[in-house]
């Protein structure tokens, strides 16, 4: 069979459930298409990050009109640039979109300080999950203060991700860029209305600083291992979101306890790139810190490929897990006394369905989402 086109692979990024069964079957078994998808998704992520300008709200119809007029004026005043000549040869319909979008990108690069070319060439991808594994944790594991230490300078571009509550499906889809998913039917006990939450896409960075960590540990009276030179000065760049959360069963009366009966969540897979330290160096150092519980460190070290595995914390003694098949991929079923949930990754998106339901009910919802 022929490989999937760039256009189909690009659509997987935006509309992961729109693939035909034939295309999905090819994609699932084709390493070449998956590699091409990673590159296409990377470019799409970069474009989204650059367009996430503070206080920048695209208004497509007005922008389209004004920019078309601007391009016509500019065309009369100067010879076409190389990319316009290229676009004219290949996709004439795209031409009105090109120049303004490039202007926006250049402005975004200027404002955010992202050096796309030089930095991208030397970045090491240290985390991009495509499988999920359970990690047993207990509340006492996090009683220590090591996790709150200052490991270095943190920046968010444009802002730290935050949850925005919404009541409208159309707005939720528009703001997240993800499709609003609906199960074929709702089990007994689950009814509307549905509340929505959107977490916007965000790019963040952490630049490790040995001196800041040492000072922070001294201030808190905590012992830490000195930061090795292979990590000190390295920057981790995190790409996270957007995420879309749909919640059933929330009461309009906010004074009551808010326990949802069903939650459907989806987010694009997060990625972490490093300017220097490798995944193995980071794992060795961070898991060897005195405050990290040995049981958790052992579980994380046992993960064969930590760069592509998403650990999901499971409260010890309160829930159990088992591997299940969901929509043609491996998923993780989480079972508790009165609730259940399932998590899986497909086509670059992590999905989760859970609630006050049985595992069979959760699986029935997960497999009929559309």
């Amino acid at each position: 069979m022929r490989h999937l086109s760039d256009g189909i692979l690009r659509r997987i990024y935006d509309e992961p459930l729109a693939l035909t069964a034939t295309d999905q079957a090819h994609y699932d078994t084709c390493s070449e298409c998956k590699t091409r998808f990673q590159a296409i998704a990377g470019t799409a992520r970069t474009t989204s990050a650059l367009l996430d300008l503070p206080a920048f709200t695209p208004e497509p119809v007005g922008a389209f009109r004004s920019l078309r007029a601007r391009i016509q004026r500019e065309e009369a005043a100067r010879p076409p640039r190389w990319y316009e000549r290229w676009l004219v040869r290949t996709t004439p319909r795209l031409r009105p979109l090109a120049t303004p979008a490039i202007a926006v990108l250049l402005a975004a690069a200027f404002v955010t300080g992202i050096a796309v070319s030089g930095a991208a060439a030397s970045l090491i991808r240290v985390f991009e999950p495509n499988s999920i594994v359970a990690v047993q944790v207990s509340p006492s594991d996090f009683a220590g203060g090591t996790a709150l230490l200052d490991y270095g300078q943190v920046k968010w571009l444009p802002d730290a991700p935050k949850l925005q509550p919404l009541s409208n499906a159309t707005t939720a889809r528009s703001q997240s860029g993800l499709p609003v998913l609906v199960p074929a039917s709702l089990p007994k006990g689950v009814s509307g209305p549905v509340s929505f939450g959107v977490v916007s896409h965000a790019t963040g960075s952490l630049t490790f600083d040995a001196e800041r960590l040492r000072a922070s540990a001294a201030q808190k009276g905590v012992r830490v291992n000195p930061m090795p030179s292979t990590i000190n000065g390295s920057t981790l760049i995190v790409n996270a979101g957007p995420a879309l959360i749909e919640v059933w069963g929330l009461s309009a009366n906010t004074s009551e306890a808010q326990i949802p009966t069903l939650v459907i969540a989806q987010t694009r897979i997060p990625t972490v790139d490093s300017t220097g330290a490798t995944a193995a160096q980071l794992e060795d150092y961070l898991l060897s810190q005195p405050g990290v519980p040995p049981e958790i460190a052992a579980q994380l070290r046992a993960i064969k490929d930590p760069a592509s595995t998403l650990p999901v914390p499971i409260p010890q003694g309160l829930a159990t897990t088992e591997a299940v098949q969901v929509n043609g991929v491996s998923g993780l079923m989480i079972k508790a006394a009165i609730a259940a949930g399932v998590v899986w990754e497909k086509n670059g998106v992590i999905y989760a369905v859970g609630g006050q339901l049985t595992p069979d009910q959760v699986l029935a919802i997960a497999t009929t989402l559309h």
């Binding site: 760039d6 189909i8 470019t43 208004e59 497509p60 319909r93 490039i102 860029g177």
Partner: protein, 44 residues
């Protein structure tokens, strides 16, 4: 711009008068052109 404003592929296709199947192709080419242009601009 239309896609990054939150429109679905079907809505972008309607707005531009093209087939849904062509939206991904145009978007991919546009983003690739933008990436190259930004790379060129930032490396100058």
């Amino acid at each position: 711009m239309l896609r990054h404003s939150g429109l679905s592929y079907a809505e972008v296709a309607t707005a531009l008068g093209i087939k849904v199947g062509n939206v991904g192709t145009l978007l991919r080419r546009a983003e690739d052109a933008l990436r190259k242009e930004v790379n060129r601009a930032t490396s100058e």
